[in-house]
Assembly symmetry: C2
Homo-oligomer: 457 residues x 2
């Protein structure tokens, strides 16, 4: 039996069920020595007062404090770590120029481990400063710097899934930046799996390897087949881009006579908790296949606007029973903030519903019935991410890892109190999700451990 | 002849011409005692070094400092001041519920001057903390608190245009919150004009009154006619909502047998520098009329997504020669940040261009050729606002008011340096516009005077 090591007292928001949120006012969350939630005691429950008093006496109580709320740490399931230095850049460019002139030259620099360390440390810290406690990373095509990224996450205390990007096709990738051969790419990925599993075992919060073909157009058949076999052999996570844009859709269809999702499936890359980024072009049939296999969609609402010419229909995906999480997609999306991506997820879903061009009749420009609510977007960023990854994160429930961000709603330049007007829990949560700045996030805990404390700085 | 009182040395970005930006590296901006820019000296110009040395000797030099850039203060041309306490709330509601259950009850509270003072002081300070140096406000329907808003802006040093919202139709507005009669509404507006003109004359930066019918459906013919006459008599600014949504469009067409813009014109409300918020439904003909009259569109990209079921075609508006500025539209938009609205302006223009629903053919879902660039959005937020209002603000040019925000690109939780990668001026500006948080904005000057200094706090 595990021992209750500490307890957190305050008011918390989370979203255990898609479509609603729960407000735990003056609740007590008990956490065991491994950082797992042991009990959640609501105010008024028989044991609440007694347990609160006991923790106070023992000195094991942390109080969130006045004007503060606890939210689950965010789960960001799609981040290109080596693209962090170009976040916000060249979003006016078409994808091929963006790759050739910016992304490939930049990512190639991560052969330099010192450069990689500098960038990756900053990225992990910036994400945590904004409340992200679990992140799924695509590294560069380099084995060493990708392992280093996993080590940095372990050291800084962030829960992470880390892959080395595979891009081996000489016809599709520049000579200065690609895997040497399919065999080398598979061998490097296998080394990454073993090394990162080792880093994960030594960590408190967990670090996992991810098999990471960039996307089908970057890869040879041989490497895709080899990576599928590796994923099967190690029971590893898989991540890639899927159905992101029309060009990708057409290229894959021409090459294989089947669409992107079916091609990925047939290479063994669609497994339970495989993470498919973007997917705005996913058809109903493909969606059903995703739901059956337990594949997850990483919804990246910012990147959709820049690179997809369409918005992923998340409402339909959820109705089909697909696991969906939210991704910042640095740097296809510009922002490291899951708050900003929650806002975008809601906003673009409204435009997907109504359409955009007022000169077309209202019923001929949008999809209709496509909006997602703020509570749904909050779920995507927390519980939905946990469900997508099959990890016990994203809610405040017994058995879940205790990942917490403490939000102060009364900061000088960001007062989220509403001056006492409209002060229902839904209003408080809406203000936090729509209006919080990085400065409102004061403390961040991962697996019960304080990993960032802005109050102490 | 005016006397050069001070000078600012550093690197500046501005956008005097729509579609591009200008980078002034190590420039010297001389400002006279009234806060107007007297000279802009670029590095390498004959008088640059001499003037720099002279200001240093005289102690009249302010240096922006390392890792800092100067941007023009933002010009936010559409803000509902009394809606600040409900920013971020109820954006899932249809417009009529949003008005009935939230907005009208909230705005009615601004009969209480103490409440108004608390909210308005906070709002003005939050906007300035995010770099907004000129703001166009709609007050509540109350005369006194609207005058108080103007006084608060004068005191805190923000340049402002302030109106008292007129909504007199008993059939369209709740009894607890509307003008007592058309005559009273016109009389109150006239009082507001005189009082605010007085406040403006006593201010350094300028405060102006604005004739402010809420929108046609809230107003009787009599009041619209009276307000048009007032605007003419005093040469006053006018602001209202125009062509925001299908419902408004249909109601006005039914009532007058002509569309919203023509009805407003015929009441005398479309004058040079009249500010028409939203306008996604503006036709080509109506746009030409706007361009001829010098009417300005306040583009509110966030609010479009929630309340318009369409995106305003800004590229077309600019091609037609319409003045366009940017508005946060608190609280139809949730964010007080013009940075976030610049980002949204770009992002929704991409979706307007491509459409949103991937199940429709690519050429049948969007408007095509509708995107605006980041530099264009920057112009909208600065020079475009100044042009819309006919005020000398928004650029660093001789004769313009010196309104400056100083952006520090090297803050612990928001490093915008890009680690030395892609370090062209366009990259630096893109990082600032896409990634700056309120914390990156360190100092704000209006009319040459320091109105916020976070470094000193």
């Amino acid at each position: 039996m595990t021992h209750v090591a500490s307890a957190f007292y305050g008011s918390f928001f989370h979203a255990p069920v898609y479509g609603s949120f729960e407000y735990l006012e003056n609740a007590l969350i008990e956490v065991d020595e491994r950082g797992t939630i042991a009990r959640v005691l609501r105010e008024g429950e028989p044991e609440h007062a007694e347990a609160l008093a006991a923790h106070r006496t023992r000195g094991t109580l942390t109080e969130l404090g006045a004007n503060r709320y606890g939210l689950p740490g965010f789960v960001d399931i799609h981040v290109h770590a080596p693209q962090w230095p170009q976040a916000a850049l060249a979003l006016d460019e078409p994808l091929y120029l963006w790759l050739e002139q910016r992304t490939f030259p930049l990512e190639s620099r991560f052969a330099d481990l010192d450069f990689a360390r500098t960038v990756y440390r900053d990225l992990v810290q910036q994400l945590m400063a904004r409340g992200s406690t679990t992140t799924v990373y695509l590294g560069s095509a380099h084995l060493e710097s990708s392992i280093e990224l996993a080590a940095i996450c372990a050291e800084l205390g962030q829960r992470a899934l880390v892959g080395k990007t595979v891009m081996d096709d000489p016809a599709a990738n520049p000579d200065y930046y690609r895997d040497a051969s399919p065999a080398q790419a598979v061998a490097d990925t296998e080394t990454l799996i073993r090394e990162v599993e080792g880093i994960g075992r030594a960590s408190r919060q967990g670090i996992w390897p991810v098999v990471t073909p960039r996307f089908i157009p970057s890869c040879t058949d041989e490497v895709l087949r080899g990576l599928g076999q590796l994923a099967e052999r190690y029971g590893a996570y898989v991540q890639t881009h899927c159905n992101e844009g029309q060009w990708e859709h057409d290229v894959v269809l021409e090459r294989f006579g089947k669409t992107d999702p079916y091609a990925l499936r047939d290479f063994g890359l669609l497994r339970e908790h495989s993470i498919m980024a973007h997917c705005p072009y996913l058809t109903d049939d493909e969606g059903e296949m995703f739901a059956e296999l337990g594949v997850a969609v990483a919804h990246c609402p910012m990147a959709n606007s820049y690179f997809s010419s369409a918005v992923a229909p998340i409402k339909r995906f959820r109705q089909q029973g697909i696991n969906v999480g939210l991704g910042t997609d640095i740097s296809g999306g510009y922002s490291p903030s899951m708050y900003e991506n929650i806002r975008q997820a809601v906003l673009v879903s409204r435009l997907l519903e109504t359409g955009v061009d007022a000169q077309r009749p209202a019923d001929e420009r949008g999809l209709g019935d496509a909006r997602i609510s703020l509570a749904e977007a909050f779920w995507l960023a927390t519980a939905g991410g946990g469900q997508s990854l099959g990890l016990p994160v994203g809610t405040f429930e017994p058995g879940q890892a205790f990942d917490l961000q403490v939000v102060d709603v009364k900061r000088r330049d960001s007062d989220l109190t509403g001056f006492g007007v409209f002060d229902q829990p839904a209003d408080r949560l809406a203000r936090i999700l729509y209006l919080a700045t990085p400065d409102n996030v004061r403390k961040v805990y991962v697996q019960g451990r304080l990993v960032r404390d802005k109050d102490a700085e």
